[in-house]
């Protein structure tokens, strides 16, 4: 092995299983940890006077530089991941449909999740709303219906067709300082209006739950 303060000729040898301590008695694994954590340049009082430790830390720090570079590299999630997750979850959630009867040209079906989404977007536009989430209250029931009818249902039959009456739950968190009931009522009004005009649902019930305050 090299002398104190000298460059270490063979790091591999130093790191081989047999060696646990430097000539000064310092624990090699502890030094390696220090270097890997990025503190190779911050000496303890022993290290300040120990050339063995300083040489080892310098060497280990250099070894770990590419590891730290890779760790610091910016990673971005491919858009495909989020899209695939969303579509798989959609398949897992039992869908309910609202059927809009048209005078001619057939029927139009709108998924309850679309209705919930529109209600959510409407709620988010109201001043004083921090976050909003929407769901169809019928989802649970539709899940039960789906399971019960799974065996004797036509493969193309829609599950949980609900007609033109929609019940939507909105969970909102309001911003601190706003009058809670006024915000909730504004959310309700706006969501109902949006669902009537954008989806064409005649009877709409929007239940608003205020479950948090954002400060």
């Amino acid at each position: 092995m090299s002398g104190p303060g000298q460059p270490i000729d063979d790091v591999s040898l130093l790191l081989s299983g047999a060696n646990t301590r430097l000539a000064c008695g310092a624990d090699i694994d502890a030094l390696l940890e220090q270097a890997a954590d990025g503190y190779a340049g911050q000496f303890t009082s022993h290290q300040r006077d120990c050339l063995y430790c300083q040489a080892a830390l310098r060497e280990f720090g250099r070894l770990w530089e590419p590891v730290r570079d890779l760790a610091a590299e910016r990673v971005t999630v491919p858009a495909a991941v989020k899209i695939a997750v969303a579509s798989q979850i959609r398949k897992l959630v039992a869908d309910v449909w609202y059927t809009l009867q048209l005078s001619d040209g057939g029927a139009v079906r709108v998924a309850a999740r679309v209705v919930a989404r529109i209600a959510r977007e409407a709620a988010r536009d109201v001043a004083g709303v921090g976050v909003a989430f929407g769901r169809s209250t019928h989802s649970r029931m539709a899940g039960l219906v789906e399971r019960a009818t799974l065996r004797h249902r036509h493969p193309n039959a829609a599950v949980g067709v609900l007609g033109r009456t929609a019940v939507v739950d909105l969970a909102i968190a309001v911003e601190y300082g706003d009058q809670v009931d006024a915000v909730a009522r504004a959310v309700q009004r706006r969501a109902v209006a949006e669902l009537r005009s954008k989806v064409g649902l005649r009877d709409v019930t929007v239940n608003v739950t205020v479950d948090d305050v954002i400060t």
Partner: protein, 180 residues
Amino acid sequence: MGSEVDDAYLVRRAQEGYVDAYADLVDRHGLLAYRVALRLLGNHQDAEDVAQEALVAAWQQLPGFKADSSFSTWLYRIVTRRALNRITRRRVTESLDLLGDVSDAGDGPGQQTERNLTVDAVTDAVTALPPPQRVAIVLRHFEGLPLAEIADITGSTVPAVRSHLFRGRRTLSKTLAEWR
């Protein structure tokens, strides 16, 4: 928008059937899932598959999620487990892979900079570590997690994690020293 509420709030809403709340959790933590999978598996294709599987599995297991750990710790656990499954499965089929690993760097050879080579070398060295050491190294030195959280994620103890880290750091350092 939506960044003011904490994960626990989103988890509760998602458990109540507000699917969009889970979409927000995916927006927040999808990167974590993908990044850990990428470091553990070493290539983008496997990382994409595992991250996707893990995020869907987390949705399915959400009703059973208790708030005794954070959502991110819980997600780390799911991703790590799935990545390990893939590593073990891959090892069985590896001997049949006559064509070898296809490089997933889309760039032509002219674009292979020295930096890319370094990145590839470190990636190879990390993915050559035995699975327990690899998990410990990735969670500690790539994700910067404290030992106690790593123990929680891996269902292990702090001393066991420390010992995997010691061995992993030695092996990795030796590989890097030889490569230099």
